[in-house]
Symmetry: C2
Subunit: 407 residues, 2 copies
């Protein structure tokens, strides 16, 4: 697997108090790499989460949803290589058994175990391998770091993706660390691929959920690789409270705004990392829409552009084909007036007043498109609604990966 | 340009009384092929039409919409190589000038001239070329046949697409002939690419419009190549009344039902021809959805499957990846219950009751996928809603065509 040309180096991550990591090889595929991650979390850890809106979710997603209502987590277990989605009773039984085994090993309730699986759809998680893998990862707790954890949850990912942000709470610097995987079947519907966030801040579960939902709306819900929404999308945030800092119980707690901002920053970083590893991607594309009738409308228009195969192939070819942007605005089904549109590539205005700008010079636009980060801005000229989304280009690499790989 | 492996031979077409065809080379691109089509229609010809729902339509589309209210046509003029979309005042003026020139040449009202253009977006139609082309095509009226007309309206099309159907009206056989172009930017939104239908039946304009709208709903609105909706989609039906048959004035006229059925048949043939020439296509895919809560819901689920890049690349790779069909059902945003889904490839049931069928044998499915026509059937198990749509697979050919071609 060739590493994405948009890959970023793995960041230096601070330790998060209250978090212990173990990895193991269950052998979900014919490989020797680690494919089970177990994270032990301190007693009293708060948890929040967002999951796929797919009508066909995996049993792990259903278990996460059910357990999130408790607000507390002692463990996270992740299987890579098998998503366990659409696997009926056998798959559900295997997921339950693995969760129960982790609860037994850690001496906690099953409702405090959070599970996620990623990989091929339709093959039941092999229960024996899942149990043995969980036991082995438990035996290795404390031996692995976040880099190893990130590697253990990847599938078609071409590089390990993690990020960090900081918030000042009561004069103390608190770290938020996130890891994420995903490179195809990416169009999270108010949810996302698999992403896990750890902090040793003390945050009440309801507040953490509010903050995560808000961050999700501006990050994971604003990216798309191929417009295809996974059956397994899950983002969980864990706050262990082991850092010794002041507790955040509500939005008016000192430091809550700073923590929320840091969480938003972290989610944005993680989301863009996923796009940077979009299957076959060679360019990171930011689409900005302004002047829409409202924010929801701006988001839909931006997603229509970001999901258009013709726009994405044009960018892949370095072609300043703004006509395809017009097309994508036109098909979005949202209020738009052809003769009010203004379209920019990078900082250059290319079309306005229903036509190309007079004396349009393609040279600076071509230079912008030759880079590996492309900005497309559209002003609809109707109102104050704005949105920003991220996607990647559509290349031969996407076809090669997906005409062969059984996801 | 390689001819699509799904190409069909050009059919034998009967003459349509009241129709005279001329073609010419305006030179919209650096080529010597004919790129202007003029069709002269008998006085009193009825016209009906459906056009794109894009919010950014071309001036030709706007003119067609305005003129359709008159219900009568004397001429059709089509330019290939330049869509004249998003070209502001200059583009609109050029379209008006070409229409006026055709009206002058034929001695009819401008409101009886129907126009369409296809090709690159954002370059104003060059007025001098458009006028010279229209005059040359007028001078050549009667010299060209439907095959030449079809060739003259093509752009990235790899084969000429036409079809014929027949209706018995008052004991007489009446022919309906259709020609169509389009191979990318195909996701007609209750409308279509450029398609033109000719018959010498006598049909009242309002009835023809009703029939075309009904046929469109089951044909052009049920195909997608890439989910991208053109700014120029137009289908026009012309009934010259020159055949001498009984006039169809309403749904209860003898022969009206037969004519409507023949029109529906013709539109279905034309729509599937477009999919057969979908950019880079190597397989024609029919998606059937049954058991939805209603017809609209079935259509949305079917389109979600037909537009999924992961489903389309799997079919390109001959991979019986039904998990991606589950994914596409799940993301459609329509009522669906994971454990009620049944999925078939060809005639073979592959998944039901929330899992792969017991003893699933992939061999007959692989054999079906090796052919060039693939059937995917999904039963949602909820209600009586059904839909059928057509698409093609997604291959390297699509990327090659669109990362280079300026559409």
């Amino acid at each position: 697997m060739t590493i994405s040309p948009l890959a970023l180096p793995f960041p230096e991550l601070p330790a998060v108090a209250g978090v212990r990591i173990g990895i193991a090889t269950a052998g979900y595929k014919a490989w020797t790499r680690a494919d089970v991650l177990l994270v032990e979390l301190a007693r009293g850890t708060s948890v929040a989460g967002v999951t796929t809106r797919s009508r066909c979710p995996s049993p792990e997603v259903e278990l996460c949803r059910a357990r999130l209502s408790g607000g507390r987590a002692r463990a996270l277990v992740v299987n890579a290589g098998n998503s366990n989605a659409f696997t009926g009773e056998a798959g559900r039984a295997a997921a339950l058994a693995q969760g129960a085994e982790v609860a037994r090993l850690l001496g906690c309730g099953e409702g405090e175990v959070f599970q996620a699986s990623t990989g091929v759809i339709g093959v039941p998680l092999p229960a024996e391998k899942a149990l043995a893998g969980a036991r082995a990862a438990h035996g290795a707790l404390g031996e692995a770091d976040m880099a190893a954890a990130t590697a253990a949850i990847g599938t078609t990912d071409t590089f390990a993706k993690a990020a960090v942000s900081y918030a000042m709470i009561g004069g103390e610097r608190t770290a938020l660390v996130g890891i994420i995987k995903g490179s195809g079947m990416i169009a999270p519907d108010m949810a996302t691929m698999l992403g896990f966030i750890f902090t040793d801040a003390a945050v009440a579960p309801e507040l953490l959920q509010d903050m995560l939902a808000a961050a999700n709306k501006q990050s994971f819900s604003c990216i798309t690789v191929d417009g295809d929404t996974s059956t397994s999308d899950t983002v969980l945030a864990f706050a262990t409270g082991s850092g010794g800092g002041a507790a955040l119980s509500g939005w008016d707690s000192p430091g809550a705004q700073a923590f929320s901002a840091a969480l938003g920053d972290l989610c944005g970083q993680l989301a863009r990392l996923v796009v940077r590893d979009g299957e076959g991607s060679s360019k990171l594309i930011e689409v900005r829409v302004a002047g829409a009738v409202d924010e929801a409308s701006a988001h839909k228009v931006a997603m229509s552009i970001a999901n258009s195969p013709l726009v994405k192939t044009a960018i892949a070819g370095g072609d300043a084909n703004w006509g395809r942007v017009v097309m994508a605005v036109g098909k979005a089904g949202e209020p738009a007036e052809r003769d009010l549109l203004a379209i920019r590539f990078g900082e250059v205005l290319v079309a306005a007043d229903g036509a190309a700008v007079p004396g349009y010079d393609e040279a600076p636009v071509a230079a912008h498109l030759a880079g590996d980060e492309v900005l497309i801005s559209v002003d609809l000229g109707l109102g104050q609604g704005q949105a920003k989304v991220w996607t990647c280009d559509l290349t031969h690499g996407y076809i090669s990966i997906n005409a062969d790989y059984r996801s």
